[in-house]
């Protein structure tokens, strides 16, 4: 009696397996897919490498308020602030980030920094190919994350 039930159970399980085997594949064909993303697909909400945004005048949005660094649970944001001068204006406010580093050895992509930012200066982009054999490469600097001015005009 119990043997028959066991066989029935196995048969039912395997039927699902075989059925799924014959369906078309659902996973993304990364990295062998087509296009610049080589087959990777993103949901809009995906949290990848950060981007530092610019405002409509091309000035940096970040005002170096350090709130993202304060919010960061893994303590991976390092900022040095400096003040804007008439001759050299970097952000629209009095202060800008002279140095802005994120240490991707430590970042856990929690998105707290994005939430903390009062000026929407930092956002999660979709960059995800961050692996490296050299840990020092994983400390990204402001230049690595800042969106280029050109991308503003292109938009």
């Amino acid at each position: 009696m119990s043997i028959a039930r066991n066989i029935a159970g196995i048969a039912k399980g395997m039927s699902i397996t075989f059925r799924e085997m014959l369906e078309p594949t659902q996973v993304e064909n990364y990295p062998d897919g087509p296009g610049p993303l080589r087959g990777a697909k993103f949901e809009q909400r995906f949290r990848g490498k950060h981007e530092l945004q610019r405002d409509e005048n091309g000035l940096e949005k970040c005002v170096a308020c350090f709130l993202c660094a304060a919010a960061c649970p893994s303590n991976c944001i390092f900022i040095e602030a400096a003040d804007n001068t008439e001759e050299k204006r970097i952000s629209s406010s009095e202060r800008y980030a002279k140095t802005y580093n994120i240490d991707y050895n430590r970042c856990i992509f929690c998105g707290y920094c994005v939430e903390a930012c009062p000026t929407d200066a930092i956002t999660h982009g979709h960059g995800f190919e961050l692996a490296s054999l050299n840990a020092t490469n994983l400390v990204m600097r402001k230049e690595d994350m800042l969106v280029p001015v050109a991308s503003l005009t292109a938009r």
Binding site: V63, C65, F66, E94
Partner: protein, 817 residues
């Protein structure tokens, strides 16, 4: 005032009648929010944040102006009060920019905190906000008008606290604004007290503006390196690419000897630390005659080999006595102590001195044996009557001037001033006496009853009568007094009861340099080398022959009679005007932070750490000892202490004899601190064998999550911390405490960051003989923005100095017309 009992939020509280409710509540741990109330300044009642409900009174009352009386009943938190405070904030925020993310005050702003607490973050106004550009009032002070909440703290701080009255209110009602005295700029003492008092980010300082945020800094409390008052200063230090950098100085926690006071030098004068002129590599003069950067190892080897060779040479121009050592006015006590011990035991010479700015030796000589007669800086804030003879505290001792003003305001202290030229403090004086420049000595004679001593000077007799009628008196005198003049003045005062003395000197640790025995004839604690007492045993091969003074050393060097000069943190060639070429024959070693006139002609230059980059203790001119902590970091430099130990080691000296560290280094001081503020009284007892005490690392050491490190406190109170490193200056402090009679320290207080007064009265009388030569004293007379070599290399101070000079020029001309 008798104590009264009243009720706050259902709790019975007791306080002296007439105490302000807000103060009584704060003492009891009940916090009442306040914007305009500032302890110590006059009451304003301008902000209405502190409103509370008092029983049987129809309207809400301001806690900052209500004085407590028997039986009153108050409520400090209720929906009604919350609503009132919320409404107040809403009005304040009506035209407030809300730029907290960029505002310097963000994170420590009282308005931000209160908005967070009471809400009202959303404004009901729909009108556009009225924006005004930020104004630069001076190289130190900036004003951002929309952020100002008109609490008038700055106005009162500058007027009452500083007696400068540079800030005022222009216009009325809703267009009232804070305005500087120069219209669009400030002509003032640039102390920055207004910036510190401002509860919001309306007043900001040039040094700190937009650099970082409060929570990103480490806050290190140490001692100001500029004048002889020794303010405790909290340095905000932030991490930068190449070490740690100081970005702010303040004392907002109001702790320590100075409360919240700092002058421009303590608040803004720290950028010398990052000056481009800093020495960062050891330099050795090469065959071509130029100074060449070398490694530390090489430089130390060169110095120790050469010094050893000179000391051991048997020729006429050799031996210890052919080496001269000159110490510093800004190093720590431990370094000074070590330097003279190094000179006396390792080099074997009594040729040790420093550039004396004040005749402390004569002062201590006069005070020896009379306990409780030396005033602490704290006494200047409470003394009922003060006699100030000479000196100009407002310029040269800003903290002393602040204390006297506070004392005058709060306690109506009676101030008597006798100087040869008018000083600003006369505005607080009850009586003044204008002396001839040479008249200071005669003043003592006059005060003691010799009518003819002063000749014909107006009011002299009434002045004397008033001074003599005082029941207690604090006598503060300046560098006009030296040698015998000090002795006779102190003798006059000692004859009366309740007279205390203070002697004003320059530089952060001039007093410490003298106390620690940087003198050719006096050992630490002013023990003469001729009768060394306990030092005979402690210091092997100590010579009892007094050595040369600093000018004598330079002269001997010029004549070629001195084979080597070892100079730490001082510039004698410039100070004494020595011809640099004449010193060519001597081997000159200089340890300093800048390439001074002396360093430029040296054979070896060793880059030293400044006071903000090392630990130890310093003694202010009143004899108050305070702890110095390391704040900044600079690659390449070493503290003088470490350099000396390394050189002694290089010369083959037993480093353990020089700095008692490691096992067996602990000896319990024979006399324990007089007033230990903990609940046990340590009995002085020798611990026969300390073999049982090992480095008790880990375990109970190290405070976790805010818990006090009780084991460490216990060890510190008994002086039992194990010193593990020969470079630990506190190991030398243990020895100082053991050997120097006036340095019996209340360690618990010292390590908690408080000042501990030393007692020159403990110096044995019998041992003091020879008075020092008065002409050796070279007062520095630094003003509000100058500080010797340090000041020249501090950009902020140089800028302030030239700014103040440039704006006061036209005024002087106008007065001359």
């Amino acid at each position: 005032m008798p104590d009264v009992t009243f009720t706050v939020d259902g709790k019975k509280l007791t306080a002296p009648a007439g105490t302000l409710l807000i103060e009584a509540c704060r003492k009891a741990g009940i916090e009442i929010p306040a914007f305009c109330y500032y302890p110590g300044l006059s009451l304003q009642a301008a902000c209405r944040m502190c409103v509370v409900r008092q029983e049987k009174v129809p309207k809400l009352q301001t806690a900052c102006t209500t004085t407590v009386a028997e039986g009153q009943v108050f409520t400090t938190e209720s929906p009604e009060i919350t609503q009132a405070r919320k409404a107040t904030i809403e009005l304040l925020l009506g035209n407030h920019p809300l730029d907290c993310p960029v505002c310097d005050a963000g994170g420590e702003c009282e308005l931000q905190d209160m908005t967070f607490r009471y809400g009202a973050g959303e404004s009901l106004y729909t009108e556009a906000k009225n924006h005004r550009e930020e104004q630069k009032w001076s190289p130190a002070v900036y004003f951002d008008r929309p952020r100002c909440i008109l609490c008038y703290r700055c106005v009162r701080m500058c007027g009452e606290g500083m007696d400068v009255w540079a800030l005022g209110i222009a216009n009325r009602g809703s267009s009232a604004i804070i305005a500087p005295n120069g219209g669009d700029h400030l002509d003032c003492e640039q102390c920055g007290m207004c910036i510190d008092a401002c509860p919001v980010g309306a007043l900001t300082s040039d040094t700190y503006r937009y650099k970082t945020r409060p929570w990103e800094m480490n806050h290190v409390s140490t001692v100001c390196t500029h004048c002889g008052d020794g303010c405790k200063v909290t340095l905000g230090v932030r991490q930068v690419d190449d070490g740690a950098e100081i970005v702010r100085g303040d004392n907002r926690d109001k702790s320590g000897i100075n409360g919240d006071f700092l002058c421009a030098k303590g608040r803004f004068g720290f950028d010398f630390v990052d000056s481009k002129d800093r020495l960062t590599k050891p330099l050795v003069r090469n065959a071509a005659g130029t100074l060449e950067p070398v490694t530390w190892e090489h430089a130390i080897r060169v110095v120790s080999n050469k010094l050893k060779e000179i000391r051991d040479s048997k020729t006429e121009n050799g031996g210890g006595s052919s080496i001269g050592v000159i110490g510093s006015n800004t190093g720590t006590n431990e370094e000074n102590y070590l330097l003279q011990k190094f000179a006396r035991t390792v080099l074997g010479t009594n040729n040790i001195d420093h550039i004396r700015t004040t005749d402390y030796a004569a002062f201590v000589r006069a005070m020896a044996g009379h306990e409780h007669r030396a005033a602490s800086l704290r006494d200047t804030e409470t003394a009922k009557a003060i006699l100030l003879i000479g000196g100009n505290p407002t310029e040269e001792h800003p903290l002393l001037a602040w204390n006297i003003r506070t004392n005058f305001r709060h306690n109506t202290a009676r101030l008597y001033i006798a100087t040869d030229s008018p000083i600003k403090l006369e505005r607080q004086a009850r009586q003044t006496l204008s002396l001839p420049v040479e008249g200071y000595e005669s003043l003592t004679a006059f005060l003691s009853g010799d009518d003819s001593a002063l000749g014909e000077i107006e009011n002299a007799k009434t002045f004397r009568e008033a001074v003599n009628a005082e029941e207690s008196l604090l006598v503060i005198f300046g560098q006009e007094f030296r040698g015998a003049a000090i002795e006779s003045l102190v003798k006059w005062g000692l004859a009366k009861e309740n007279v205390k003395f203070a002697y004003l000197g320059d530089y952060a640790n001039s007093r410490g340099a003298a106390d620690m025995g940087l003198s050719p004839d006096l050992l630490p604690g002013y023990i003469p080398v001729t009768t060394p007492g306990a030092f005979a045993e402690e210091y092997p091969n100590l010579s009892t022959q007094p050595g040369m003074t600093a000018p004598e050393m330079l002269d001997a060097g010029c004549r070629g009679e001195l084979a080597a000069l070892y100079i730490v943190g001082s510039d004698p060639v410039t100070a004494y005007g020595t011809d640099p070429a004449a010193l060519k024959r001597a081997f000159v070693v200089v340890q300093d932070i800048f390439l001074t006139g002396t360093a430029a002609l040296a054979d070896v230059v060793l880059p030293a750490a400044s006071l903000y980059e090392k630990a130890g203790t310093v003694t202010n001119t009143f004899g108050d000892i305070q702890l110095v902590k390391k704040a900044a970091d600079k690659a390449g430099v070493k503290p003088d202490f470490e350099i000396l130990v390394r050189i002694a080691g290089g010369m083959g000296a037993d480093v353990k004899k020089l700095v008692p560290f490691g096992r067996g280094s602990i000896t319990v001081p024979a006399v324990t601190a007089p007033a230990l503020s903990v609940d046990f009284v340590p009995t002085p007892r020798p611990i026969p064998s300390l073999r049982g005490i090992h480095g008790d690392l880990g375990q109970s050491r190290g405070a976790h999550s805010g818990e006090a490190d009780r084991h460490a406190v216990w060890l510190a109170a008994r002086g039992l911390e194990l010193r593990l490193s020969p470079f630990d200056p506190l190991a030398a402090l243990d020895e100082i405490e053991r050997l120097v009679p006036s340095y019996k320290l209340d360690r618990l207080n010292l390590f908690a960051g408080n000042d501990v007064h030393s007692e020159p009265g403990f110096v044995p009388v019998a041992s003091l003989t020879a008075p020092t030569a008065a002409e050796l004293i070279l007062p520095a007379h630094d003003g509000l923005f100058t500080s010797g070599v340090l000041g020249d290399h501090t950009k902020a101070l140089v800028e302030l100095n030239s700014y103040q000079e440039s704006i006061s020029q036209p005024v002087a001309e106008a007065a001359a017309d």
